[in-house]
Symmetry: C2
Amino acid sequence: MKTLGIITEYNPFHNGHLYHLCKAREITGVDYVVAVMSGNFLQRGEPAIINKWARTKMALNAGVDLIIEIPFVFSTQDANGFAFGAIKLLDSLQIIDYLCFGCETDNLDTLYSIGNFLNIEPQKYKDLIVCNSKNGYEFPKARSQALCEYHMIFGIHGLEKISSSELNKLLKYPNNILALEYIKHLLNLKSKIKPVAIKRMGASYHQKNITGNISSATSIRNEILNNLSSSKTDLFMLNDKIKSTIPSSGFPVLEKELREGRGPITLDSYRQYILATLRRMSSEDISRIHGVTEGLENRIKKASLKSYTVEQLINSIKTRRYTRTKIQRIILHLMMNLYKEDITIFNKCGPLYARVLGFSKKGKTLLRTIKKKSSTPLISKLSNYLRQIISEENNNVRNRLIKMLDYDILATDIYVLGNKKAEDRVARLDFTHKIVIKKD
Amino acid sequence: MKTLGIITEYNPFHNGHLYHLCKAREITGVDYVVAVMSGNFLQRGEPAIINKWARTKMALNAGVDLIIEIPFVFSTQDANGFAFGAIKLLDSLQIIDYLCFGCETDNLDTLYSIGNFLNIEPQKYKDLIVCNSKNGYEFPKARSQALCEYHMIFGIHGLEKISSSELNKLLKYPNNILALEYIKHLLNLKSKIKPVAIKRMGASYHQKNITGNISSATSIRNEILNNLSSSKTDLFMLNDKIKSTIPSSGFPVLEKELREGRGPITLDSYRQYILATLRRMSSEDISRIHGVTEGLENRIKKASLKSYTVEQLINSIKTRRYTRTKIQRIILHLMMNLYKEDITIFNKCGPLYARVLGFSKKGKTLLRTIKKKSSTPLISKLSNYLRQIISEENNNVRNRLIKMLDYDILATDIYVLGNKKAEDRVARLDFTHKIVIKKD
């Protein structure tokens, strides 16, 4: 019995994801597929276009057997923090044999060598990053550049056949960056999970317009948003262009959510809350939030006063050094009061539980195996679980656990305030929403 | 040269206000009228239906000569705190001869005797309030009841001809309560301002539907809100029923504001901000906010989770003891992070400045006189004033001043987020909006 693990956001689930899933099954010949998926807020610092349960349904319909939520405090971190949370979570299940990820190259040896280098992180490489950051480069660029420079000067073990400019090109793709972080953390954890790279098909990650049956999630989201603003009726119908990019098993789920006003959710859905919160907070308060580095608090405060959309807000804060995604992540953490000191603690311990979002019939078998093999608590009913952990004797463990869970619960409580229908805005859905179960 | 002072909210300015204005001029024979007016947030714990500058314009058009803003920290307090701020502000101008207020009785002797009693506040009366509060009565009722009981047992000086039940009836009207608070604070300050009671005409304060040319502000606001929800076009037209209750000099101002989407503003205009903020705050954080008395923080927190409108939120918190207006005030203070300790400081010092919202030609003369006679700084241009007070040597005075002003500025920054058009949501209007000047 072999099991595949994947790290996903499925925002929304599209043909590219389906291709990845089929290809991964084909290559590994596994019997089961487990996905760890971001909840309502994502790695790029945005809310998901539809909520986590609908996205779970789309994934189950496409053949994933079990879906576990990546806790908010990891799903909204940068590539390193996100990968750490996702890998640690997958590894802790103790049943995963392979990790398949999509990237622009399928040369695993190259990825391995770089991942290994990133895990070792020699002092001279770290110095180069600091030096490049001082030159005003945004962090991802400063890091890539340092990597290339190090390779040029000292050479990286295993990359003898690759030039510095080839390396530079490889580091330009967000999916490659994530893949490298996955490998780095697998190595760091000495995990038994075997990484498998699957070359991406169809449109590139950055593609803004729909180009074919396999189109980027970005282009699909854009098309959904355009479709919405041009629609004059209350009945939300998705156009054929969008339909052609989504598997037929998932399309009705997406359409239903949008028709019922539970999407498309964007950061601007929280415009009033974000702007009012920032206008009210002092720069000093803002500086305590995770991701706010020195001086940025004043920029954020100032921008909140002159902006009246979230787009304007982001554009006013953005500089060469602070990327859009970094700022979006900060906005999420501001919305949630996620402080620097909390992240420091969470990044030491990793995910402390595995919350089940949904499973298929086969997934049920998996759950039994996880329960036997893994020491990470598997949460299916939140209220039961909370009752149970009150008896945990170690105060530190208990408090950390409750705090991590509280962020997930609050994330949903805030997320639902973007829904159109009043009754869909009620809180505590993490307690009342049922796990998504696929029966056949 | 005689000057009349009035304490107002003008939400919006209507025929009843005009009647009050004419009657007050007639009785006192004054040359000038000065109004101190709540800014964007009001004593009943609600945002004003249109902003303070538009309401200023309506008042100037109707013949008020000078309008001064009651600082947020006083305008959103209970009757006692509101009256204290308003009376102290009026008195500090050093040019006011009369204070005219509308109430259900014009028997000034009776009001005086009660006001005097409230100012003295014998210990036995205070004990009776505590006793009634313990019986679960909301504070205003506990206080009225204590007053009647005291009168019945010990007798109140000057009220010999009034029975306890007549007194009870008199205390049922919010405008009488406010009038008593005004008199109490005038006496307490040993003010030279002479109070004049004007019996209210037309509809009662609590009237919910428009009944004639003089209708309650509540009924006019209700009609505006109903009119809005039934309007199917983008063009906002007010119906004739509303038109008949508003002076013709002010009607176009009101209509323009509503047509351009700067109203009608209600607490529910801030639904997302209020609900998200409460869901995010811990009960402990909530308990620090002004007005939150013991145990109420848990009720508020719980209500925020099950509510999806502000109306639901208020209804879930409300009890016999905690009135709707008290809860609405708490919601405002939550939106603004107005803490208990801040109010304690502000209630010791009173308003520290007089901010001019607008003036007529005659009002300009008044401003010159105030500048000569009053030691309270008169603010017309906020940025100039802030530059000036940086040089204030007493740290305590400077900090208090800046803090009080900061709440006014923030109140507007939050208020504008209820506007329909994006560009009307920009912040810092207190710095950029011009004083309203009536030239003829």
